[in-house]
């Protein structure tokens, strides 16, 4: 079966909704994606037929729920080419990145020199900055090239001087440009540094395999890839899984406890203290099934078509696109400004036509400021968007001419 967004759309009831009297056009997928019936149904089925606490009780219902939970973990791990013991469930990418600022200092047992970039989402900047101010060490922020990817030479120079962690966004949530993570990973390892990827905007949209890239840690969110909110993943490379200390303690992560001591559970369960987000894990596994069935590379191709159509339709006299002019360099994400009209006002005009986009600094204020503005309009696509919707977007945008 070929890729057909119109068939896919049938799985997403929300796309039939009307907003301001117009049928909904959802172009804010980098913020969060819509959920297919299959995901919602899987969560419903869990609660109506299997709900019980996992990994604890000796009863049939709990073993059935546990089996679902374990199976789900396997699917999610396989989706990124990881082993099931290499993934830790978090609530989102943000939590994963924050945890690393606890995990890595303990793992290395020293103050860290951390290298990151101006392209980061706040969630890959603020936690490291706090870590450095509380625990000592140094945070170095490298810049961007003219092609709107991180400056690899600058990174290498810093790595040569000695760094502990290189942490980089894979696909920018503002520009849609993709950083060369495989090359960066090689460089980091060559110079004795750990390599962390913020894959929140890449794993949902392009094929991603940890066994090919070989990063040490990867963080991403379920809600940006058809899954429910409140579930995310922190990937931990096998060679560190046994070495890192649990950061949260409590129930579910210990084998035995005496008043003096405790023995932790096996990995990865020792990293998941407390009752886990079972519905989230099951929902995300179903989302992953869905994406695998469609094929992530098909989704990437479709998004490339949408971006091309979008960029070709822009009137360069009034639209400034941020990032490369080559549409193939934008992984489903395009940010722009309209001459003389504030991004919020552009967003509101589009909203009046039922078209949902994001405007503002997009949780990446240093990057947006580096583009020479303090806010942008962002369009971000996913598998259910269509060329027709892009046409509607352009039609709506044309009305803004009267405002300039």
């Amino acid at each position: 079966m070929g890729f057909d967004p119109y068939v896919i759309r049938e799985d997403f009831p929300i796309l039939k909704k009307e907003i301001n009297g117009k049928s909904l056009v959802y172009f804010d997928n980098a913020a969060t994606t819509q959920k297919p019936k299959q995901v919602v149904e899987a969560i419903r089925d869990y609660y109506f037929n299997y709900n019980s606490n996992v990994l604890r009780s000796i009863n049939t219902l709990s073993s059935q729920a546990t089996e679902l939970y374990i199976e789900s973990r396997k699917k999610i791990a396989r989706f990124i080419g990881a082993g099931e013991e290499e993934i830790v469930f978090t609530k989102n990418a943000t939590e994963g990145l924050n945890s690393l600022t606890e995990i890595i200092p303990k793992l290395l047992g020293r103050k860290l020199t951390v290298l990151t970039s101006i392209m980061e989402h706040h969630s890959n900047l603020l936690p490291w900055r706090r870590m450095v101010s509380e625990k000592g060490g140094r945070l170095i922020v490298v810049g961007m090239n003219e092609d709107y990817t991180v400056n690899v030479e600058e990174i290498e120079k810093n790595l040569e001087n000695g760094c502990d962690v290189l942490t980089i966004v894979h696909v920018s949530n503002v520009l849609g440009t993709m950083n060369p993570v495989k090359e960066l990973c090689k460089l980091a390892h060559k110079h004795g540094s750990l390599f962390v990827i913020d894959a929140a905007q890449s794993i949902p949209h392009i094929p991603f395999d940890v066994s090919e890239i070989e990063p040490d840690f990867v963080a991403f969110s379920g809600h940006k890839m058809l899954g429910p909110t409140g579930i995310g993943v922190l990937y931990v490379r096998k060679k560190f899984v046994e070495k890192i200390e649990p950061w949260d303690l409590g129930g579910g992560m210990v084998k035995t406890v005496t008043l003096e001591d405790q023995v932790y559970e096996d990995v990865p369960f020792r990293f998941e203290a407390g009752t886990p987000n079972v519905e989230g894990v099951i929902g995300l596994a179903t989302a992953v099934d869905y994406l695998s069935r469609i094929g992530v590379s098909n989704i990437a191709k479709h998004e490339a078509d949408l971006v091309k159509h979008l960029m070709e339709g822009f009137d360069e006299k009034i639209i400034t696109v941020h990032g490369p002019l080559d549409s193939t360099k934008h992984m489903g994400i395009v940010s722009f400004n309209v001459k003389g009209i504030h991004p919020h006002d552009v967003a509101q005009m589009l909203d009046a036509d039922g078209i949902m986009v994001r405007s503002g600094a997009l949780c990446a204020e240093p990057l947006v400021n580096a583009l020479g503005v303090n806010a942008v309009v962002r369009v971000s696509f996913y598998l259910y968007n269509t060329l027709e919707e892009v046409d509607r977007f352009h039609e709506s945008l044309r009305k803004l001419r009267g405002f300039i």
């Binding site: 006002d345 405007s359 204020e365 009267g402």
Partner: protein, 126 residues
């Protein structure tokens, strides 16, 4: 054309070059406020005489709603006492924009009020 669109057009007509825009040289108070979540930024300038706001102007890097709201707010408080200006309610501004604190443009509309309160609260304490 939707009513939302009509309203936007009306705003553009009246506030594309908003009244009260500009700096006051030798202002008695200058107050800046920004909303980092959306990127709007306004700067208010006041001339104060006794307990009264004699003149008020603003500069900004902001959206249409924020500019319009600031422009309107300054009209509302010119000639008022500090206490009167401080007693102005969020709702008064929001209702002009036919919205409330749940509306999507709440933060844009309210930003100048935050700047105003920041500027005048100190004075009141003196």
């Amino acid at each position: 054309m939707s009513s939302q669109e009509d309203f936007m057009r009306e705003l553009v007509r009246r506030f594309k070059n908003p009244p009260n825009y500009g700096e006051i040289e030798n202002a008695d108070i200058v107050s800046e406020e920004a909303d980092y979540s959306c990127g709007d930024r306004v700067k208010l300038y006041f001339k104060i005489g006794g307990n009264r706001i004699l003149e008020a102007k603003f500069t900004s890097e902001a959206c249409l709603f924020c500019n319009a709201s600031t422009s309107i707010l300054l009209d509302l408080i010119k000639g008022k006492t500090i206490e009167e200006a401080l007693s102005l309610k969020e709702e008064e501004l929001l209702s002009i924009f036919k919205t409330d604190s749940k509306g999507p443009r709440y933060r844009c509309i309210i930003l100048p009020l935050r700047a105003l309160r920041k500027a005048l609260k100190g004075l009141k304490l003196k």
